[in-house]
Symmetry: C2
Subunit: 486 residues, 2 copies
């Protein structure tokens, strides 16, 4: 048994049960923790990650084949994200405190009672870690940060691609949870597919976050819905992230766009949920020659054998399609660029519009603006849609309208990779991009997934939760009688 | 064929398809409608309901057996609710506009692009109307009001209990939709169980709202999740709405509490989703005598034969339970009060803690505060939990903590019936009370169910939706760089 096999040994059934029960028992205490302490715990995990960055990055390199600069950037993003959620917790806006004062003249026709509402945590969250971001979408990643910030215990089902790193990060989280006085069940780590399914079915688990493939995600979604007590499943499944290059942009910026695309498809070996997988360019435009001949960054190795096999499996039918030819990328280590026509895609959508998770993209040539718009209007749910254009005109307006209908994020002259963690970010989209289009898994909005409102009616101050009392010593933002807080 | 049978004739398959496709085709135009026009449409429906109140109430009396004062109050609530959502639309806060300005020094480690996010409508909403509120939870009820306010077309699956009223209200909505210049597909009405299932499976439908029984709701929820493209299902299924009367309150206010309970269980013939179905009182307390002998309002007839049969079916096993006795209500037209012990309920939860939709409640006697708390801690998801007490002490604090864990609304010395439509209202709760504990179906928060965020990255002003442009001519509330709008 190698050390990797040892580290990823399946969690035993009794162990998973014990972890789920510990999470259930921890839920009340973690939810009741002072917001300042909860924020400090998130900051503490960030500090711990930063302090151990050298050893964590070394572990990640060994387990994922990703390059050091990429991993260092990702780790920085991860600790930043934890600190951003600490800010969100301190701010308190996520509680969405609403107060209706009693109103005997309420025009509904009956007196309005005193009603005070706030968000409370859902309970233990099960987080299926992703392979491609061993820090930012894994053990201490966005789903863990936002669920802990919401006041929920977290059970991470480790990704089998980086078990040692998962254990190391998990141990750091455990230390911080312990130091801040929270019950140890506030955080748990389990390994193995069966353990993940067992946890998902455990009555103690209240919500699931998942980042991975459409097939795997859908299977788990179905299990979550089929429970005796169904629970919300926030799954980010798969996305093609179409890019539409208008004739004008292709003419004006062929070199720049070709170079940008080659970088977006090659970096992290194309293993990004926002990698552009379909790029529409005008038929016969010089941009195709540019894409064929421009210098392309090396892709690097894929994360692991399973990902490599999945990539080959996804690419094969597209490459073998009678109306697809290979533009470049027959050599390993170089991004694969395939070419077809818009007509072919429109005629054979299911075969040609599918995610190839790895360094490949399908170039789609269109004859005119009408065909470009037809292609845009044929899309299903996507995380992102990008438009490269020169000006606002009928075509770009049409593309934007079509994009906003199906995507969570719409970009102008920008590549969808390099997702920023911010207040206004939206990383989510209609199915199959996600199973919950109304939510985001990146950015401060991610916390809302793990909350539910509770209203208190005619309750005297001393029986109310502190956040709803008259005094508001924490200065929480509140909406009073329908008027937003200042 | 009676006129009721004619009015409720099943919609044909082709008709349902046509209505779903019309809704899909209307979605873009309705979503793009100026917010002022959208608000005016909601106000217009309210005006139309008020103007036709006499004939609508006459129809409702004929079809539901509910009393005129109750129906008149409900209609007032319904038009008020439409006007409240018109206000919500004009305010624009529901768009949750967030703007991040570009920031080259964003501490994440990479420059932050200009990101602008707002909520957009999900698309056509299918609304299964309820039997017990022929106005407020039916054709022009809260789900229709909040979905139209969100910018979604609405297809109502009429409740078979009041088909003529459904058609009459639907015709008024049609008129208003037409007058405000929206496509007629913005509103549709279908009849029959099969038609409902067909619509739920139609690819054009984007979300479902449901109010009804746990069995029926769960079956539809399962279908919504099993679609090739799953859609959110906002179901309000069933709730017992437990009430805990402390020994002190039972002693101090036996007469008042007994009278309040008899009213809460009898009014609208107990056919309310918030009817108290389990009431814990101290063993041997005078309140039991009071409940046995106090004057009780007549319950009136049940809505229809199907509801009456369902009520008999739900009551029978509880009444026949060896540890349950009947306190009062053997005569028709009088609320049925059954009695058992906390020990019996704790030992046989599944048999004794179940919704009896109609004028019945189960009184549960407890021996001491510890048993009362044990009962409270054994609850599953509920819409409401009420506590009657005299002061804040260990018992009431314990009851409140247990209540907030399982319920969407927690009340003090108040009955859960008579739900107020307000900003801070929460009508929802953990399963089986609802299938989506994070949402509410009553109050201004109900609009969020039918929205999803879209972010625009690095998009020039002229290509942005008007709500996200620099100028903000509508004065929409916005959060900028993480700072809430004033």
């Amino acid at each position: 048994m190698t050390s990797k096999e040892a580290a990823s040994a399946e969690s035993a059934v009794a162990e998973v049960d014990a972890i789920a029960e510990a999470a259930a028992n921890a839920a009340g205490a973690w939810a009741a923790m002072d917001l300042v302490v909860r924020a400090r715990a998130l900051d503490g995990i960030a500090e711990r990650l930063d302090a151990h960055s050298a050893e964590l990055i070394a572990l990640a390199v060994r387990e994922t084949h990703l390059a050091v600069p990429r991993l260092a950037g990702e780790l920085k993003r991860t600790s930043f994200q934890l600190r951003l959620f600490a800010q969100v917790v301190r701010d308190g806006g996520f509680l969405d405190v609403r107060i209706d004062s009693a109103d005997p003249e309420w025009p509904m026709g009956a007196p309005r009672p005193d009603l005070r509402r706030m968000n409370v945590p859902l309970g233990p969250v099960l987080n299926f870690a992703a392979s491609n971001f061993p820090f930012a979408f894994s053990v201490a990643g966005g789903d863990t940060a936002s669920a802990l910030a919401a006041g929920c215990p977290v059970i991470v089902k480790a990704n089998p691609g980086h078990p040692e790193l998962s254990r190391a990060v998990g141990a750091l989280i455990d230390e911080v949870i312990d130091e801040c006085g929270a019950p140890s069940g506030t955080f748990g780590l389990i390994f193995g597919r069966d353990a993940g399914v067992q946890a998902l079915r455990h009555p103690a688990v209240s919500a699931v976050a998942f980042t991975g493939s459409t097939a795997g995600g859908r299977a788990l979604y179905d299990l979550a819905c089929a429970r005796p007590v169904p629970i919300p499943f926030y799954g980010e499944l798969g996305s093609i992230n179409p890019v539409f290059v208008t004739p004008e942009a292709a003419r004006a910026r062929a070199v720049e766009i070709a170079s940008g695309l080659l970088t977006a498809v090659s970096s992290s070996a194309g293993q990004l949920c926002t990698k552009p997988g379909l790029v529409a360019v005008p038929e016969g435009a010089p941009i195709l020659d540019e894409l064929r001949s421009a210098a392309a960054p090396p892709t690097g190795e894929l994360l692991n054998d399973q990902i490599a096999a999945g990539f080959a499996h996804a690419v094969e039918p597209v490459r073998a399609h009678p109306q697809v030819r290979t533009l470049r990328g027959e050599r390993p280590g170089e991004a694969l660029l395939l070419v077809t026509t818009a007509q072919a895609v429109l005629a054979d959508r299911d075969e040609l519009m599918r995610e190839m998770f790895g360094p490949a993209t399908l170039l789609v040539t269109y004859r005119d603006a009408a065909e470009l718009l037809e292609l845009a209007r044929s899309l299903h749910g996507e995380l992102t849609v990008s438009v490269f254009g020169e000006q606002a005109d009928d075509t770009t307006h049409g593309l934007f309208a079509a994009a906003a209908r199906v995507a969570g994020r719409v970009l102008w002259n920008s590549w969808p990779t390099g997702l920023s963690v911010t207040y206004a970010q939206q990383h989510g989209g209609p199915y199959p991009a996600t199973t919950a289009a109304g939510t985001t898994s990146v950015g401060t909005g991610a916390i809302t997934r793990f909350l539910r409102p509770v209203a208190f009616q005619s309750v005297p101050d001393e029986l109310l939760p502190p956040q709803l009392r008259a005094a508001n010593p924490l200065g929480l933002p509140r909406s009073v009688d329908g008027v937003r807080a200042q």
